[in-house]
């Protein structure tokens, strides 16, 4: 679960990491009173979770009250990567020199957390060559003062900047560990002339699987009602921009089906993994869910029966299709009692195929306008 910038900064502040003075605003008049309180010039920042906010014009420096009013209105209507702005963060604009980067994140390959830092932060940090970052492993018990100092030294920091950086790194690491983050990142970390530092942005991703230990983070209801419904059933659901709804049991199986759809020249309307088993009630729920996807012109169902009898799956498919008119269903159902399942589906209006490839080709063809 990714936190909004303002939520991440609240966490930073709780852990003693300096942040700029700021105020959250939900509409233009709140934004204006926030500007009055913070002073001008100020930054107004759209609160979205999608990347590329800066490039999409989601952060502006305003110098006058009129400018603030106009930009607040514009930013509230802005969408970044299709995602509407949730709120505005009005923040003091300070003069600073260097912009650094610091994060604590999981290194999957090495199977450990690492602290990464660079003297040159900002939006281009991800395109930097791998070697440009200084790095130290983070033990499960936490980073030692010595390791933090070593990282400061590696970056060529000295004096007040070195001690300030070390202190912020240790706080960020403690936050990452105690709140169980997958990623805790400050980019940029502004360095002032006197060596003090301020976190100008936050990127915090919590470990979803650890949320049971952190009940204070309540998940915002998803923007997409279908996502919310999918979550209630425990389905993994991702809305995509094509017109073939893809449903299957097992993440890998659905992923591979998406690839087959793309190879056949089609585009998937969604990814829906109903989970490893293929119990009849779950298959039915999944089909009812994707039937509500307006972009879907064909529904592709790829079930590997495993320990479930495919006749159960077939009966579920039949039941859903008969209760409501919907986009044509193309199914591949493999597993025990396959032949009986196919017989059950004949005459149901469901197109049954022996292989995933055949079902994919037919679904892509069927989705054409």
């Amino acid at each position: 679960m990714r936190l909004f910038e303002y939520e991440g900064k609240e966490l930073f502040s709780r852990y003693g990491i300096p942040i700029p003075r700021s105020k959250l605003a939900g509409d233009v008049s709140q934004a204006l009173s926030a500007v009055d309180e913070i002073g001008l010039p100020a930054f107004i920042k759209a609160q979205v979770l999608s990347g590329g906010r800066g490039k999409a014009g989601g952060v502006v420096l305003v110098r006058t009250r009129d400018e603030a009013k106009m930009e607040a209105g514009r930013l509230l209507a802005l969408k970044v990567g299709g995602e509407p702005t949730r709120a505005l963060l009005v923040e003091e604009a300070s003069v600073h020199g260097e912009e650094m980067y610091v994060s604590v994140s999981l290194n999957r390959g090495r199977r450990e957390f690492v602290a990464l830092a660079s003297r040159s932060g900002g939006t281009e940090v991800e395109s930097q060559a791998e070697g440009a970052m200084a790095e130290v492993p983070v033990p499960l018990e936490g980073l030692s003062d010595a390791a933090a100092s070593a990282l400061s030294t590696e970056l060529g920091l000295s004096g007040r900047t070195s001690s300030e950086f070390g202190s912020i790194l240790l706080k960020l690491e403690r936050l990452s560990r105690e709140e169980e983050c997958e990623l805790a990142e400050i980019n940029p970390l502004a360095v002032h002339a006197d060596g003090s530092m301020v976190a100008l942005d936050s990127k915090v991703v919590l470990d979803d699987n650890a949320l049971f230990r952190h009940p204070e983070f309540s998940q915002l209801p998803p923007e997409d009602p279908l996502e919310g419904e999918a979550a209630r059933y425990g389905f993994a659901f991702v809305r995509l921009d094509g017109n073939v709804a893809v449903v299957g049991n097992g993440a890998g199986l659905v992923l591979s089906t998406l690839d087959l759809v793309a190879d056949a020249g089609g585009r998937a309307a969604c990814f829906l993994d109903l989970g490893g088993g293929a119990q009849r009630d779950r298959v039915e729920a999944a089909l009812r869910l994707v039937r509500g996807l307006p972009s879907a012109r064909a529904i592709l169902v790829n079930i590997f029966g495993g320990i479930t009898r495919t006749t159960d799956v077939a009966e579920g498919l039949r039941a859903v299709v008969s209760e409501h008119p919907m986009a044509p269903v193309f199914a591949r159902v493999s597993g025990a009692e396959e032949a009986e399942a196919r017989a059950l589906l004949s005459g149901s209006g469901i197109h049954v195929h022996r292989t995933a490839q055949e079902a994919v080709l037919a679904a892509v063809e069927g989705a054409k306008p």
Binding site: R108, R111, L140, E180, E182, D207, N209, A210, G252, D263
Partner: protein, 291 residues
Amino acid sequence: MTFEVPEEGDPVIVQGITGRYGSLHAGLMLGYGTNVAAGVTPGRGGQVVEGVPVFDTVKEAVERTGARASVLFVPAPALLSAVEEAVEAGIRLLVAITEHVPIRDTLKTIRLCEMSGARVIGPNTPGIILPSKRLKLGIMPAPSFRDGGVALFSRSGTLMYEVSDALSRSALGQHVALGVGGDPVNCTTMTECLDWAATADEVRSVVVVGEIGGDAEERLAEHIVATGFPKPVVAYIAGRSAPKEKHMGHAGAIVYGDYGTAESKIAALRRAGARVAMTTSEIPTLVSSTR
């Protein structure tokens, strides 16, 4: 760390046997011929599930049966302590079916393995099956697996069943099929699996089913080259068409920027000499042609 895989008929235990999932699969494992000799659920000692006696602690179950392997169906918040208890009681091979385990719990499990020499497969794995030994420590559908010379290692469960089913239909049985798990971090890595396949005489070829996210396949490719891996490797990577920055079902199946893309994995495996299938249905043909 080696794989201390039980022999045919050796006792194994099931932790979390009284749950719906645990009891269902204890029965299916027994049906396959695996000797599920005891179950463990704290507070449920004295019960019998699928004809299997249930104990309160792993220690009691081990004392009664001499088991050295365990399959875990415990809830995610309890996994780390269940693993600790099992290792303490002398279990050497642990198959963690449990999904939704916090990353730091998995990292602690890995450290426990490093210190104790015990091996954990998973979490979020379908388990491991060795058809020649009638040994099924997991939830995979047995009819899709038959004995043979392929070692099949997969990050995905259902895709592993799909591929083994296709292999079995082409008379390409499996000496072993093992799911490393769908999480960002696996206690047993693909690379360790490859080392096992290198030394197992029964294994004539290796099939790797990977997916987007992380760099397990790139590391595997490096390992193939570094060790001069002596057997043919066929690989398949799911998720070529997936969008970036979206979890595609598995917690581990996510691309960030250029990290974790299918292209990177396919290119690395090809450079290492692996044959890469573009669809799962090509896999049996590629395996046949490498022998």
